[in-house]
Subunit: 611 residues, 2 copies
């Protein structure tokens, strides 16, 4: 097959690709992450690049010769999150719960000074090490792999019998992953990951102190092959498709690992664990497990629990002997991300009726307590993650997360890290919708009020739109707008979530007011206005103190497993206690959904506090 060299200007990286490869795919191979939201079909128009004087869409341009490609900043995906943000991930309920857990990381380093063998004590080298470690941590039996034995004799003698054993706790076993010369206990780290359909988030954690060093978030690179799980499952059925999708998300993970380890000067040799949580399709794709039956009735995954396995075998490049743990899920629609979220907020350990709402690409909801749990999935779409919207973005630097609109339609926005605005994230959109209703910029059905006379409201030729930030003030040099299509998209998302909550409550004969605690999770960054969320009809109109915003609960749950190995077994118990409710076969769900496609709802009696 003929190959051509493509050179990308922003990072001066070159890559060889077969003739006919599209530039979006070539870019990913070169480590250049171009924004794309339409699955490479040329619809979103985000992947503009320059070849000489010509501007083209990367996804629509095939490589036919050696090329030099310039990627403008506006087409680049930023995947840098902020230290600030990572601190905010652990607050409120999750922070309290994390403190209550026993600090017992899944990896430990145990330093031992062994007596040298003598004629009277000629125990073999392996047993000499294992017995000392077993005694030190009161563990009856530690296993190890052959690879740790091959050079053991030499290593022990070279280090004068002073060695550090790296120990991994499994569900019902303990393994010595490695043996290091001398005392290396001072440095030991792990990664927690949330593998979402739209975003991938990772955290670097110090396993000695429990401290979170940093967090990174990136758009899932699989997105260029499909915005949702269904499209990706179809893509995976192409020859090599599963491989491509796996490599895409592994490349996300690699980026995050490299970025965090560079920033915090952590060498991969001291990183021995990665705990991953993700929805069922994401786990299949990452691990190259055939996902095809997930989208065929009766929607059965190949497996709901995976591993643990050697991290490198799974494609995660930490220490070559490091381990990867995957949070188990329940079914196609309730994945390991939700089990992680439940571990994080503690519903399975509380006698009180509680609710977890995870607003991601789907909207997964679990109602219950320590006795029982019932889960459901709403087809909410990724709007609240900023995906599929004209100026949507995730909650990273420059994302508008708070909005006020004055009576004169003057706008006041606040961005993540107070940077010049680049786009709008989920919490920003919630504020905008609420302000639109307050200022009568939209009707209750979401249509923009045509009678408004203002430069901010205009017809762009295809669509009515509202200009939130003029291009003079934006970081992108373009107006930041909300279109009528965006509003329609957001309305369906909020309607899907609200109606799912009500249907779940109906199923078990409860009212929203019976709930003691509602945890809202999702990629909103560090801010979500509950009052505004109720006002637009996303959340039920009950006592606001019941609500708590907990951020990325999937990532938090993965981190807790990293820091408390008992949760590996606990996760398996939790998943078994969850009953799945298929909303599509609930008789009244469609009626509920249709009734919720207004702001806040067709039945205003349900929202007494909303004027």
């Amino acid at each position: 097959m003929e190959e051509f060299k493509v050179h990308f200007k922003p990072n001066n990286k070159s890559v060889k690709v077969p003739k006919g490869t599209d530039l979006l795919t070539a870019a990913i191979k070169a480590g250049v992450v171009i924004a794309a939201a339409c699955g490479g079909e040329g619809l979103c128009g985000k992947c503009k690049v320059s070849i000489g004087r010509n501007t083209v869409l990367a996804c629509q341009t095939l490589v036919e010769s050696d090329l030099s490609v310039e990627v403008p900043k506006s087409s680049l995906e930023s995947h840098a999150a902020t230290k600030h943000e990572s601190e905010e991930f652990t607050k409120g309920a999750i922070s309290e719960r994390e403190k209550s857990l026993k600090f017992s990381p899944i990896i430990r380093k145990i330093y031992v000074e062994l007596p040298a063998p003598t004629q009277d004590d000629s125990t073999d080298d392996l047993e000499r090490v294992l017995r000392a470690v077993e005694n030190k941590i009161a563990q009856p039996r530690i296993s190890t792999r052959l690879s740790n034995i091959k050079h053991l004799s030499e290593n022990l003698r070279d280090s004068a019998y002073k060695v550090t054993a790296v120990i991994a706790y499994g569900e019902d076993s303990v393994e010595m992953l490695a043996l290091e010369p001398g005392d290396t206990t001072d440095r030991l780290f792990g990664f927690a990951f949330d593998i979402g359909t739209t975003t991938v988030a990772g955290q670097l954690v110090d396993l000695n102190s429990g401290e979170i060093l940093g967090t990174r978030i990136a758009f899932n690179k699989q997105s260029m092959h499909g915005a949702d799980v269904i499209t990706r499952i179809i893509y995976a059925s192409n020859p090599n498709g599963l491989q491509v999708l796996s490599e895409a998300v592994l490349s996300n993970i690699e980026d995050i690992i490299e970025d965090l380890s560079d920033s915090y000067r952590v060498n991969m040799s001291v990183v021995y664990a990665a705990v991953l949580a993700g929805n069922m399709t994401m786990m299949h794709l990452l691990l190259k497990v055939d996902p095809s039956n997930i989208r065929k009735a009766p929607y059965v995954p190949a497996a709901t629990r995976f591993g643990p396995t050697n991290a490198r075998e799974a494609g995660i490049n930490i220490n070559q002997r490091g381990t990867a743990v995957f949070l188990p899920g329940v079914s196609t629609y309730v994945g390991g991300d939700i089990v992680a979220g439940l571990l994080a907020c503690g519903i399975p350990d509380s006698p009180e009726l509680s609710l977890l709402i995870d607003i991601g690409t789907n909207g997964e909801i679990v109602l219950g307590n320590s006795e029982w749990m019932m889960g459901a999935a709403a087809s909410a779409g990724p709007a609240f993650e900023g995906s599929g919207l004209e100026c949507g973005m995730k909650a990273v630097k420059g994302a508008i997360q708070k909005v006020e609109i004055g009576p004169d339609l003057a706008t006041k926005v606040e961005t993540v890290w107070q940077e010049a605005p680049r786009g709008i994230c989920g919490s920003g959109y919630i504020d905008i919708l609420c302000q639109f209703l307050k200022r009568n910029i939209i009707h209750k059905d979401g249509k923009i009020n045509r009678s408004i006379k203002s430069e901010r409201v205009r017809n762009n030729g295809v669509n009515y739109e509202f200009v939130l930030v003029r291009k003079e003030f934006s970081a992108t040099g373009k107006d930041i707008v909300i279109t009528e299509d965006d509003i329609e998209n957001l309305k369906r998302s909020k309607g899907a979530i609200y109606s799912a909550i009500i249907s779940l409550l109906n199923k078990v004969g409860k009212n929203a007011s019976d709930i003691t605690k509602i945890y809202i999770a999702g990629g909103f960054g560090n801010y979500l206005n509950i009052e505004n969320s109720v006002a637009i009809g996303l959340l039920p109109d009950i006592n606001r103190s019941v609500y708590e915003f907990i951020g990325n609960s999937s990532l938090a749950g993965a981190r807790m497993v990293l820091l408390s190995h008992d949760l590996i077994a606990r996760a398996d118990v939790v998943r078994k206690n969850i009953t799945y409710l298929d909303l599509s076969s609930e008789p009244n769900y469609m009626d509920e959904y249709v009734a919720s496609l207004f702001f806040p709802h067709t039945d205003m009696g349900r929202f007494p506090s909303v004027r």
Copy 2:
């Protein structure tokens, strides 16, 4: 590095090797097994080959150009054993014990017909399979690897949910190794191996019936790099030396696997287990574990238990998902072969004082019962395995195993499989020594009686020797002889074993007559004359009914583990119950040894029944 092509005539195989490789090494790479007993130092003279009209020693000839090499039959190693022999391996005590064990092979195939998933039963594919299998074998939890999940969904549907799970029992866990479409339970096999310093023996076993299909024995190909463990450990310290030794014995294993599977038409796809027993050095070398400290005081192995592991990872080419189990040992001198032997003869399960004597390259001895065991190793050397003797060979086709010598020095020999004689095996030598004493051919010190006037007794220029079979009657076209050096060698071997037995008894304050049962194991083929063994002073002069010859007990023990998975855990208990006695630090051992360097002994009072 320049490479040359070497063509070997006996099998028409060619191999490319770097300039300067010796022909012995080149031959092994080409799959031609040339006999060598001296470690490639040109001393044994067994590796004669022809290049054109010149005859050279393969080990002393370096490749400097492309070559065609003819290997005469007399220089070829035969590694074919006999069906007959394999039947004889299980007799007497071992056969009885094997019958008493619960038939529970370490691998089982479980056929299940699963209900197809429905909306009401949407359990994931993996759990659907595992639950059905768990129920069928009453096992609470079966694990499996990621590789079995990747194509599980497709495989299940393609086989209409009728599948066979291949289950492996570990020490405290059960794993699904593979899932096969349809009902494949009718064919399931495993291999048992004894990895000896001098010989490697393997058996192919039907895991459905327990039947032994066949047995093969070969000289350990490592021998060309050293006759004993010490030489090989030194060789292993060369660059790449460990790799070469591992590949040599893995090539033995491969030959045996290929030979048996061809003979019995067993495809590797239905072979899911290999159980291996061997001495400590052999296990280190096979698994490429650094053995260097085994030969340095205080003689500590890197490990005494290994695995289990994937068989292919260990270099054993059965089904790619098959498992390899290694019998654990006690110390440098008491290896997994002895633990296997104890499992085979049942000493650890009997209240009666018993003794196991394994006459191999070392002579390992264990005394004890179900309460306690004490083991020792005599430096017996491989003489009784036929190694290092002028016409020595292992007990395969054509080996002289029974000998009578008349008053006129006429000889009558019986060979394995009644083939024309090719050499003499251990049991043959025992008979010969006994007959030599009876006919006054040797003195009590082992020297050949110079006063005999017979063509059979002659000085070969270097040495006195006795012609047992004249070349007209031998298969090799050469006289089959016993030299004075051979007798000296055998005398030291028998003395080492006898004095070890006595020292062990002394240590625990017992007499030989206190022993209820003595099991003699070793590579004698299917015959050992106990009366003659006592007569030459190899075994104590006690009631003959105490003795039982049990053949290759290491191989038998490995086979029992293959057929009864409870023995995996049992082996670990057994090894822990054995105390090791270091003979070299026993004050009276040297005196005992020197006193035993006569036929039968300097103290005839110890052998009252020997005339």
